[in-house]
């Protein structure tokens, strides 16, 4: 009996001793309490960078500092840690990345006077709970109707040149005719334009310049319709050409007369009156107009034939 009483008293003494002295031991180790533990993001997977936020309440005199060095962990790695004071509390932020799935124990972390212990991280797996084959690779995503537009554009690019080619082949004879018609008449149009200009300026320009322009305009026309290199022909050479070109000898002589007179003015310094100039323009224009008409008529006949 006495022994039981003694035992009870001893037991109570030990319990009281433990109850009152244990906080003193904690205080000696750094008196603090963990207010909250939070992982950011709350759900994380292998390879994610995670921040552990531990909010601690500590008694005065207890220093809470970021760990000077992190212990090595096999399942991942620590990156950094820093302290954020918060209304009398201290928030300890520790970043880490886990490379293995499952619940992983975070080793004790010495943070100044405080040692954080008993923490664990739960690293989730994306394939957790199901064995799944990797999904096949998707093609690039396209806007609706993109394929249709591409097909239409490609078709347009292929069809357009072919259509143009077909049109060209179909229209070619007509085009050739139009171009030929334009080219055929172009020298005479130019001659008419030049002569009209000379007629206006007959009184203004000096004799030499006037006959240079007049004979050049007529030679340019003849170069296309009478002989290929009329521009390199002298008046005497033109005489031989005119003999074959003009049916009427008088017309050839009259035109040669203009050229001979022009040579005298151009190279011999002969002066010419305005009346003579206008007369030569009219005569040259009339002869070449008749030549152009007979040439066109002959061409029409040959086409009909």
């Amino acid at each position: 009996m006495r022994g039981n009483i003694f035992g009870r008293i001893l037991c109570r003494f030990l319990c009281c001793t433990f109850f009152f002295l244990f906080p003193a031991f904690l205080g000696a180790d750094g008196s603090y309490t963990v207010e909250s533990i939070q992982f950011i993001p709350p759900v994380y997977y292998v390879g994610d960078r995670v921040e552990l936020r531990a909010v601690l309440r500590s008694s005065s005199g207890v220093r809470i500092l970021p760990p000077k060095e992190f212990p090595r962990i096999e399942w991942g790695e620590f990156h950094d840690a820093y302290i954020v004071p918060r209304d009398g509390l201290t928030a300890l932020h520790i970043s880490f990345t886990a490379y293995q799935t499952g619940s992983k124990t975070i080793p004790n972390l010495v943070c100044g006077d405080v040692v954080l212990q008993g923490l664990s991280a739960s690293v989730r797996s994306l394939t957790e709970g199901a064995v799944r084959e990797p999904a096949p690779a998707h093609g690039s995503l396209l806007l609706p109707s993109t394929r249709l537009i591409i097909a239409l554009a490609a078709g347009f690019l292929i069809v357009l040149p072919l259509a143009a080619l077909a049109c060209f082949i179909w229209l070619r004879p007509g085009l050739r005719k139009i171009i030929g018609y334009y080219r055929e008449k172009q020298p005479y149009r130019k001659l008419k334009k030049d002569l009209a200009l000379l007629r206006v300026r007959a009184g203004e320009t000096d004799s030499r310049q006037f006959y240079i322009s007049l004979l050049e305009a007529m030679k340019l026309y003849m170069n296309r319709h009478i002989a290929a290199n009329c521009l390199a022909f002298t008046t005497r050479e033109l005489e031989a050409v005119f003999g074959k070109t003009f049916e009427c000898g008088q017309e050839a002589d009259a035109l040669l007369g203009i050229f001979r007179y022009g040579d005298e003015v151009k190279f011999g310094g002969r002066e010419s009156s305005q009346g003579k100039r206008l007369q030569d323009i009219s005569l040259g224009a009339a002869i070449l107009w008749r030549l152009e008409n007979s040439r066109r008529a002959a061409k029409k006949e040959s086409v009909h034939a």
């Binding site: 290199n229 390199a232 002298t234 151009k266 190279f267 011999g268």
Partner: protein, 326 residues
């Protein structure tokens, strides 16, 4: 001096020229081109190269010209053994005085006929060509001027090239004209035959004097040449050198084109041609008329021209057809 005055002078000068020309025409049947060429050379102040086969009255024409002008005339037959001193003269030792005295060669004449010039070696050719260019000859230590006027009329044979010394281009360039002497027509040949058969070859009388030649030259010098004609002349000559551009059909036939000297001679000859036509101004026809004779010995044809059997005249014809006249 205006063109009217030049024209008046030209008309009187032409009478003088017609007299000399008719004089030669009385002896030479046909060969208008050759006679005109000889006169053109003399009036343009240059030397003429005549090319033709034997028997075409080349020598007779030159002799008649000399007689007609009343000028001293010497004929030198060029042979392979001819020496420069045979042409220009040399120093001869005079025993009586014991000194060397110059003995002037046949080159000291107004008109020289260098017959078959390509038969003499290069040193003789160059001695003559030097006299042609400088119009003076050096014998020993002294230089002697040649008489004025001084004309060399050289002949060469287009066939029988064996044993000949063809004139190099640089020396050919000294001749103002190269006149091709062709065979006479049938009627002309008949006339030659009749004259030769009766022995009535005609005689040349003195029609003009060296002083008249100088007067004619002065009149010709006064003939007006428009700026556009000058440009045309230069265009023609430079077009003959357009080988690098290669866009003209004729250019591939030309190995070497004409020199600027050709432009000068073309200018002078065009004036003479205008004089022949009785005009006091030059027109493009005059330039075209003289271009073959002035350019044919100055253009070196390419291998392509030879393979296409083209002559210098064919190429010049193309050249004239490619350049626009003013």
């Amino acid at each position: 001096m205006d063109i009217q005055q030049i024209q008046e002078e030209l008309n009187s000068a032409r009478q003088l020229y017609s007299r000399a020309r008719d004089n030669i025409a009385a002896v030479i049947v046909g060969q208008k081109g050759m006679i005109d060429g000889l006169f053109m050379g003399i009036l343009a102040g240059g030397h003429v190269l005549l090319e033709g086969v034997p028997g075409l009255a080349k020598t007779l024409a030159v002799k008649s010209l000399a007689q007609s002008i009343d000028a001293s005339f010497k004929r030198i037959q060029f042979t392979p053994d001819l020496l420069p001193a045979d042409l220009t003269g040399t120093l001869v030792y005079r025993q009586q005085t014991g000194e060397f005295v110059p003995r002037k060669g046949p080159v000291f004449s107004n008109i020289i006929l260098a017959d078959e010039i390509n038969r003499a070696p290069a040193k003789v050719q160059s001695a003559l060509l030097e006299a042609m260019e400088e119009k003076q000859v050096t014998i020993g230590d002294n230089t002697y001027p040649l008489p004025d006027p001084f004309f060399v009329l050289a002949t060469q044979n287009p066939i029988e090239h064996e044993g000949t010394y063809p004139l190099p281009e640089a020396q050919l360039d000294r001749f103002i004209l190269k006149v091709l002497v062709s065979y006479p027509g049938v009627e002309e040949e008949l006339e030659i035959l009749r004259r030769a058969g009766t022995g009535n070859l005609g005689a040349v009388s003195r029609a003009v004097f060296p002083g008249d030649i100088r007067r004619l030259q002065e009149v010709i010098q006064g003939i007006s040449v428009d700026g556009r004609i000058e440009v045309y002349i230069v265009s023609l000559v430079s077009a003959s050198r357009e080988k690098q551009r290669g866009h003209n059909s004729y250019s591939r036939y030309i190995e070497f084109g004409a020199s600027p000297r050709a432009a000068i001679y073309l200018y002078r000859c065009a004036k003479v041609q205008a004089f022949f036509e009785g005009r006091a101004y030059v027109i493009p026809e005059d330039v075209k008329a003289v271009a073959p004779a002035v350019l044919r010995h100055r253009i070196v044809l390419s291998y392509e021209a030879e393979s296409d059997e083209l002559t210098a005249d064919d190429v010049i014809k193309n050249l004239l057809g490619a350049v626009s006249v003013p």
